[in-house]
Subunit: 143 residues, 4 copies
């Protein structure tokens, strides 16, 4: 019944950070949430800013809240700025419409959680999230 | 003197969702508020995102808060973005200026509540709200 | 994969309210949350107070947050008042440690959601929640 | 000058959870904060309640906030309940005055962070925190 375990979340975090070191990223924070938006695992690298845990969680939470990855949310925010400004308040500050929030799907395509990464350029954050999710044998969905 | 009952609100929710299925909408969340902005009934379809209950309520609450449907609020937000950005804070995150929030009026034209729907394109959300309100024998006001 | 559906949640709400009418309860509000604490369905009866939606949700959310029903949380709050006072803030006001918050388990014993009812004496609120859950073919856990 | 690293925090989390499995604890959540009260690492075991991440962080944050472990805070809250009720608001819900929040000191006695654990009896939570801190070669301070 448990479709997304701490073991899987831990693999995602560690594989994402290993990829960040290969890419020479700035210090990152990686958050993994379950389908209900609750934290399963988080690591903040030495030197990663003190707001990064909240940003990483907001990238992941926003993806779950809207059912789309941060890349799609960023596009929509650009075309509907007033609505997305409202969404930050509606959500209590739990949305960050920017790449680096990635939905996690199981083999049947069900959303089982989300990953949010913050600390470098959003494209690099996103690449590390995708690598981590792949290493755990799950499907990354950035759309 | 009770002008908007749970029975009516329940008809609205179920008729709106029935219409959504006819239209093949994405999974929706439907919220019905009384004239005081308090929840009477809500249903979230399987697969509708975890932020949808708050968005649906904010569409309805915003309509009541300003006395206009979400379609009008969206137009105004486009021409007065700073004011609407302020309104999201002023309201404590209870306003979503986007179509899909519809005022409910009785036969005498009094506002008795509002419906908010979220999950598909705002125009489709609004169409489902209007259908639901009509099925309950009440007047939908999107302006 | 979906272990707790809107159809089940709707049966719970309607069966709980039918039982409330049999018992002659005061007007109730019934909230059904999924395992992540997000609203699936809610109905507020005519005359049920305007804070009842929040109380009903807090009974259910608190049960999910702590992994125990409101009856157990009430006992613990009586013996650890400072901690439970802190928990109301820690949770952002999403906990109500009082009977009427009931965990919903599936046939395998997994928590799939929770029901919260507010409006009458907590024991009656709880009885209606249990009846509703039973009518949906699921297991009610008040402990 | 970095006195508390992600590597050390990761050792604490994993050693605390290993000890929890030896003791047969309920599913735990372990949070490790730096001296500024910001999250370094967190893991939530499968089945640990959805409020546990906040509680674990509040145990650790409260210890840093007051300069004493949760065991001392619990004693003080018992003798000064109104003040501790105020502190939950003053802190914005970031204090949990209960055992399981443990200060982390380096070899010179400086506070470099804190550990918070939630999910079982507070005494067991605290024992796991102490084990984790010891495994990382740091000093646990529960007073």
């Amino acid at each position: 019944m448990q479709t997304f375990t701490l073991d899987q979340a831990s693999v995602i975090v560690d594989a994402a950070l290993a990829h960040a070191r290969e890419l020479g990223c700035h210090p990152l924070t990686v958050a993994v949430l379950d389908a209900g938006g609750h934290l399963l695992a988080l690591k903040r690298e030495d030197g990663s800013g003190i707001l990064r845990p909240q940003i990483a969680q907001a990238k992941a939470w926003g993806a779950l809240g809207m059912g789309h990855g941060g890349r799609t949310l960023a596009e929509r925010a650009a075309s509907a700025p007033a609505f997305y400004a409202a969404l930050t308040d509606i959500s209590g500050g739990r949305i960050a419409p920017v790449p680096g929030g990635v939905l996690v799907r199981d083999a049947q395509g069900n959303v089982v959680g989300a990953v949010g990464i913050s600390g470098d350029h959003p494209d690099k954050d996103e690449a590390c999230a995708m690598r981590g999710i792949g290493r755990a044998g799950l499907q990354a969905d950035v759309t």
